[in-house]
């Protein structure tokens, strides 16, 4: 098939602008670290390196070495062994924990996504169901997760299942709300068009409503990608799941007085996990929405 020259190919942003964006991210990170250390330089604990000493003119408790360790101290802790005489560095140790937590979160993410989509499909097809159940769906989200987590653990036991359920619980709601909107987004004429083809409700759902809802779905999934990780991390505490990042955070919290850098490292890895999961969803989004005008946005 011949392509005519005047048409812009449907693709993501050009490579050059992507490189430019990477440089901006990098610059931002460097800037953040500079601000971090500058703050400590002005209001933190004294700096003592190679016999050289600097006494900051101001004093803020949050900026002392206990509250905000030096960036190089955190890096040093991260590349050092995770505990005395261990072969593994703390960073690799935390990455493996993060992978474990990610697995729980991902299962919850998928289950929550499926549950959200199923609920939305039901609500869009039945006003009765919508009116009867949407208030409960909304109400369920007003219960704080810290109150709910121990209850879920009580019902489902000290195991990964409880953590997955907590992640699911935090995931399904944004998907439900976005999908109700997305499944209703088709132009009324598009629905009439499908009727003119004698399409069944099922076919209309698969061929029209669902594809039309995908931009809405991905907006929700980008939110729930991070929410599911928060859910899994929180759930590991009451669930006493020791393989994941949540447990490390609790553990390092207790060691905070002796070594605050460990907790900061764990926080960094948790953030890295969240950003990675988000980026993964975004990549899938770009792939799935390829060719649509809204694909390159957001």
């Amino acid at each position: 098939m011949r392509r005519s020259p005047e048409v812009i190919p449907a693709a993501g942003p050009p490579v050059r602008s992507r490189l430019g964006r990477a440089r901006i991210y990098l610059l931002f990170v460097v800037g953040l670290l500079v601000v971090w250390e500058a703050a400590k330089f002005i209001g933190g604990d004294p700096w003592r390196y190679f016999g050289w000493e600097w006494r900051p003119p101001l004093k803020f408790n949050v900026l002392n070495d206990q509250g905000l360790p030096h960036v190089w101290d955190i890096v040093g802790t991260m590349i050092g062994p995770y505990r005395r005489n261990a072969d593994q560095s703390l960073f690799v140790y935390l990455l493996l924990k993060a992978l474990y937590t990610w697995r729980e979160a991902a299962i919850g993410f998928v289950l929550g996504g499926a549950l959200g989509m199923a609920l939305a499909a039901a609500f869009v097809h039945s006003q009765l169901l919508e009116r009867a159940f949407v208030p409960y769906v909304v109400a369920s989200q007003t219960i704080p997760i810290v109150a709910l987590a121990p209850m879920i653990v009580f019902f489902f036991g000290n195991n990964v299942l409880s953590v997955v359920i907590i992640a699911t619980y935090l995931t399904f709601f944004p998907v439900t709300i976005a999908m109700i909107r997305g499944l209703r987004s088709p132009d009324p004429r598009a629905l009439e068009l499908m009727r003119s083809f004698a399409a069944s409700r099922r076919t209309i759902l698969w061929k029209l409503r669902l594809p039309a809802s995908l931009p809405y779905l991905f907006t929700a999934l980008k939110i729930t990608a991070t929410a599911s990780i928060v859910g899994a991390i929180i759930g590991e505490g009451p669930g006493a799941i020791q393989g994941g990042l949540g447990w490390s955070i609790i553990e390092f919290n207790q060691q905070y007085i002796t070594n605050p850098s460990k907790l900061w490292g764990a926080i960094f890895v948790a953030a890295l996990l969240g950003v990675s999961f988000y980026s993964l969803v975004r990549l899938v989004e770009l792939r799935v929405l390829r060719g649509r005008p809204e694909a390159s946005a957001g």
Partner: protein, 285 residues
């Protein structure tokens, strides 16, 4: 007497059709009243009338996209709902209504996907349809990469994939500039001649209606009804010479006067204005 293929078997028939809409607050609004209309097979019929006179509603009644409050709609010899289920007609709206996540060929293929047709036959049919609307080079493009006129041609191809007996078009070229519109008119005539399909064509443009049609159905508003049916006896095939012929101008005048006299009763300012607008659009182009 207009086209050679026209026969006397009615392919669409409306008998004593009324359409009322329920308004919020319990009132009803009569959109159409006392509609009697028989369309012969292979005919090209235009519906013309002021805004709000029920042209789209009439088209949607034929397509069973809305149901009559009274009367009977028969399509292809069956009740309208059955004809819809049998896919006896194709519909083209004012906007192309293409699915923006599908390429041109995937859009045209959509109706065939609902029938579970065999793949090679399906692809051949899609290629044939794109050939018909002269867009084979754009099969892999997405809708947003096409001009408005091209998008509307894709919509026409999609409406024709089932080889329906009837093509319903609701102001398909209303959003296009005059030049493109004239080209599209010739294109539609070519397709009509090639396929032998019956076309019901809603328009606001008197010249467009006259140029295309075997008959022009003139309607008036409040309540919507048919005030006159003008037979257009211009010879076919029609082309540039047609638009410049004396007879063509006479027919345009005849339809305009029919529209005017229809306005004599139940006139309202905005409907008059819309006729005036339609005229201006048509005759300055």
């Amino acid at each position: 007497m207009t086209g050679e293929r026209v026969t006397d078997v009615p392919v669409v028939s409306l008998a004593g059709v009324d359409k009322d809409f329920a308004l919020p607050g319990g009132a009803t609004m009569t959109a159409l009243t006392g509609i009697d209309l028989d369309l012969r097979r292979g005919e090209f019929v235009s519906l013309i009338g002021p805004s709000g006179c029920g042209k789209s509603t009439l088209l949607r009644l034929i397509g069973d996209l809305t149901q009559p409050s009274a009367g009977v709609v028969t399509v292809n010899g069956k009740p309208a709902p059955q004809a819809r289920l049998d896919r006896d007609y194709g519909m083209v709206f004012q906007a192309p209504v293409l699915f923006d996540w599908r390429t041109v060929e995937e859009n045209v293929r959509l109706p065939l996907e609902l029938t579970g047709q065999e793949r090679t036959a399906r692809d051949a049919r899609v290629a044939e349809m794109l050939e018909l609307v002269e867009l084979p080079d754009f099969a892999r493009h997405y809708p947003y990469q096409l001009s408005g006129g091209m998008q509307q041609r894709v919509a026409i191809a999609r409406a024709l994939t089932f080889s329906p007996a009837i093509l319903l078009m609701d102001e398909p070229f209303g959003a296009l500039d005059e030049m493109t519109r004239e080209r599209m008119n010739s294109e539609v005539l070519r397709i009509w001649e090639q396929t032998g399909i019956t076309v019901v064509f809603v328009t606001h443009s008197i010249p467009e209606a006259v140029f295309l049609s075997s008959r022009v159905v003139v309607m008036s508003a409040r309540p919507g009804r048919i005030t006159r049916i003008v037979e257009v006896d211009l010879p076919r095939p029609r082309g540039v010479e047609t638009r410049e012929s004396r007879r063509y101008f006479e027919m345009v005048t005849q339809v305009r006067e029919a529209l005017r006299s229809g306005e004599g009763s139940g006139t309202s300012d905005d409907s008059l204005a819309s006729i005036e607008r339609a005229e201006a659009e048509g005759l300055t182009g």
